[in-house]
Symmetry: C2
Amino acid sequence: MKQVLIDTKSKTYKVFIDARLRFTIGTLLESIVTQPVSSVFVVTDSVVAPLYLDDVVGSFEQKLPIHTEVIPSGEASKSFSVYENVMTKALECGLDRKSVIVALGGGVVGDLAGFVAATYMRGIRFVQVPTTLLAHDSSVGGKVAINHPLGKNMVGSFHQPEAVFYDTETLYSLPEKEWRSGFAEVIKHGFIRDQRLLSWLQKEVSSFNDIPVQIVNDLLEQSLAVKANIVAEDETESSVRAYLNFGHTLAHAIESELGYGEVTHGEAVAIGMIYALKLSEKTFKVDLEVEKYEQWFQLLGYKTQIPSHLQPVQLLKKMQSDKKAEAGTIRMVLLRELEEAILLEIPPNSIKELLDEQLEVE
Amino acid sequence: MKQVLIDTKSKTYKVFIDARLRFTIGTLLESIVTQPVSSVFVVTDSVVAPLYLDDVVGSFEQKLPIHTEVIPSGEASKSFSVYENVMTKALECGLDRKSVIVALGGGVVGDLAGFVAATYMRGIRFVQVPTTLLAHDSSVGGKVAINHPLGKNMVGSFHQPEAVFYDTETLYSLPEKEWRSGFAEVIKHGFIRDQRLLSWLQKEVSSFNDIPVQIVNDLLEQSLAVKANIVAEDETESSVRAYLNFGHTLAHAIESELGYGEVTHGEAVAIGMIYALKLSEKTFKVDLEVEKYEQWFQLLGYKTQIPSHLQPVQLLKKMQSDKKAEAGTIRMVLLRELEEAILLEIPPNSIKELLDEQLEVE
């Protein structure tokens, strides 16, 4: 079993990585908590529930009260109404301040159940049990949130989990599209902090069909080590944590313009990273070998150009109303070189110019 | 201008106390922030808005964007739907991470606007501008929350304000009932931590008609000093902060059984304190002079007995489902003697017995 230590200002906890970990979550949880657990509330979604809910519930001691809640699968569940429903269920089940919430699923479940944990009776403990590759990123670092019709993740908190239990076997029930989506965040960690990881990935991964579980365990460990490193330095995104936004400023705009679900998060981040690399080359007059990465991305099935039916001027507008924006300016993460991220305010006309260049030609 | 320093683990800030302070809030805020303010969002209610909103808005520099939102007055506004509405307004106004929310009003406004600040983009700054005596307690310490139909303050966070601006002149627009409600929390602080305050109050305050503003400034300063002392020791209620719950276990049950609004919070707390004093005398076989306090309470217009139409068995049930309860047990704050609070698990039959004794006889 691999372990990555997450050492933030407000809490220190571990990510446990191993195939078939879901069968021992109850025992592991018991071994890590310092305060007794009065009851457990497993929140999962309609896709994950039939696959893994019984395994997780079965991993707990029979005498501990266990309640479960299944939310509809998909981003639409990160809503005020599902949030309120899960709160109601938690109260009806009689959860108290010693209860623990288990978030079993992808990023949507983790974000929603984490926000419930952050705000139920002003905060109770929770653990993340990610079942997607993409969630490796969101399950660590304590960012929890729901969406507002006017913007993604606009309502949320920082609330660190007690632990993250990563059963890599569960990833093998994911469709290829989901592997691709999650892998983009792994690549991102390479770009901003770990060249060695980036080179290793290019050597080991040229398709998403049957990556050996050994490789998956390794890449998760390394990718999470980057994340751990960054949130240890900056838990609440006042400095270096912003670097994790590499590729995301344009990605959020693309997702929002296309409508969530039309493109996966990672697919949008891939386009955003190529954009950010190109902008970095222009800005700092350096050669980051964008073409090489573009080819690798394409080999892995990513699109690297902005879909032709999107309007650059609309994307620009969305980028200006990003959560990280201040008073309409656009601040983006660029690379001076590999591993050297920097947060920079970019003039709108430079943004727009490059959007036009990267637009797919029909 | 009086100042009380609140020094918690997560933040250090001041309570400023003075008559007519509302006219200088903008200037004061500017002097205390360490990060620039991009815009201001004043949240207030329909009773306070016509009285003081213009004064507060006028206290800010003209070039700073100021937005306002008026919610309906009353406890019903601490709901999911008002929370969502205020979030929507905040997004529509384009608040960003450098914006500051001003909570102008009583405890309802403070709790709601504070919870919005705690969760807007994962947390932005806010200041409390209490306009009631009761809010002197809730405005300090960072507890923010909304209600759920299944329980009061069940959804919330800990989020400390940047400052508390207490304009004591605004208290003079309060009806006597509201003075009485707030004063109960002042008395509570005396009981659990400051005998001297308690004696001084008995000497100085025998009615709520025209207490001189000098006395009000003094009693706020002393009462807040107790609160400051406690939250400095324990920000998130893992130990001594629970003492602030003195009188509240029964009070919450009474409020909930009567329906919120039928009795003020402080009126319920007064009954709850007499109950807790009596239970303390029984439990520790000490003489706390309950009769003396009962007489003073009655002189001030408090009821000290449980309204006769309430059912002790129902109250007991509510006390067992309190947020502080764990797995159905009742934990109450008692006094070994004045200033010596202790949190104790009490057997349900002892609770019930004393409820019967303190029930008003028709």
